[in-house]
Symmetry: C2
Subunit: 216 residues, 2 copies
DNA sequence: CTTAATTTGTCCGTATGTATG
DNA sequence: ACATACATACGGACAAATTAA
């Protein structure tokens, strides 16, 4: 049946074991030697399987302690992809556009969700806008989180880094007005206005950055 | 500096080697023993790194032949993660939403680009719609390509696989009408209608899949 | 067809660093 | 301080598959 690639069988067996034993994230799974014994494989072969799963972020191994099942949501999907997908794509414009794409979608998702748009969060966000130490990034990140799409949030985090920290620096008074307008539109579930205002702010920000030569 | 996890260094080194030596997909990379010697690590440790890269689908090892750099399309990563991580519904939904997010953005980008919306491509695409062997995926992929955002295209490719090939199967007559409507809207640069029609089609497709139980 | 060399696949033994009690 | 359990790492040995002479 499985002529070669024993370590793939091991990956499958470990998955089945986790399912059947009802192992939850954070729980410890049997040690390498135990697994090797029960599965009738060598430790080296078993370790190859464990390493693969670790690189994907599915398990976490700590020397001297053991191997643990990591949170499913912390899968290294985007991190792994970033090193192999994002790198050969040097188009800064694509990265910027794609990031904006996720941000706009987040705003639309929030507007369509009545519960989200009526949240108490907006009030506190408005208050924080007045703080001097408030950063642009905090504002956008809050929107991404509230969209409820964790995968999109993760991708956004990465794209943000690859855009050369587009939200660095502190905000001006003019920008606080912009943000307040966006928040108002969201509270009124006016998706169109919110997106339009956000895009306008984003474009202004991009030009501002180019003018200042922050192209790292 | 690097206290533990030597195999992670090896992963990085191999990646850098591939970059600097300009190794292309299909090319053979040095043997395990050679790499172990040049990198001054044991062969077992090196194999752990290679296994990880193989599970990601980045390399391909054939017994007796060697190790080869594989085409980036063959991501085993997808199968593993889909059976491992995406067990809960929220993750599935996030993937589906994020994919749709990129598709909608692509349509909007095309509509806003006069040159793209007036292209000759649409005619040929209409003709291909009549072909029996025409697949749903061809239609959507064409849209993604024409959006001009290559990064978004790459992300879409992966998300598509993660969704469990949402576009598998052949199209029905009803669907061809839907696609034609979408194309018409795009040609008229009517972004709203195009997006609305596309979303409707996508939702219908999702329900259809759930009804047929294609959840692999 | 046979043989030899190369390469991956697998397992074992041993030593070491680390955390826990 | 000591013992135990565990992951980390290395090198050796042999099997299996492929290729070339």
């Amino acid at each position: 049946m499985n002529q070669s690639k024993r370590y793939l069988d091991i990956v499958r067996d470990i998955r089945d074991m986790i399912r059947h034993e009802n192992i939850k994230p954070g729980d410890r799974i049997p040690s390498e030697r135990e697994l090797a014994e029960t599965m009738q494989v060598g430790r080296s072969t078993l370790r190859e399987a464990l390493r693969s799963l670790e690189l994907l972020g599915l398990i976490e191994t700590r020397r001297g302690e053991g191997t643990f099942l990591s949170d499913h949501r912390n899968h290294k999907l985007v991190e792994v992809l970033s090193t192999f997908v994002l790198q050969d794509n040097q188009s800064h414009e694509d990265v910027w556009e794609t990031r904006l794409l996720h941000e706009v979608a987040a705003i639309q998702a929030i507007c369509q969700n009545e519960a989200a748009s009526q949240m108490r969060v907006w009030e506190s966000l408005r208050l924080r806008l007045k703080d001097e130490s408030f950063m642009r990034e905090d504002f956008v990140r809050e929107l991404m989180v509230l969209s409820g799409n964790r995968l999109s949030l993760k991708i956004w985090f990465l794209l943000k880094q690859y855009s050369g920290d587009p939200y660095s620096g502190t905000v001006s008074f003019d920008e606080i007005d912009r943000m307040n307008n966006i928040l108002t539109a969201i509270e009124q579930q006016d998706s169109e206005t919110a997106v339009r205002e956000f895009k306008a702010w984003s474009e202004w920000l991009q030009k501002e950055r180019i003018r200042n030569g922050n192209d790292s």
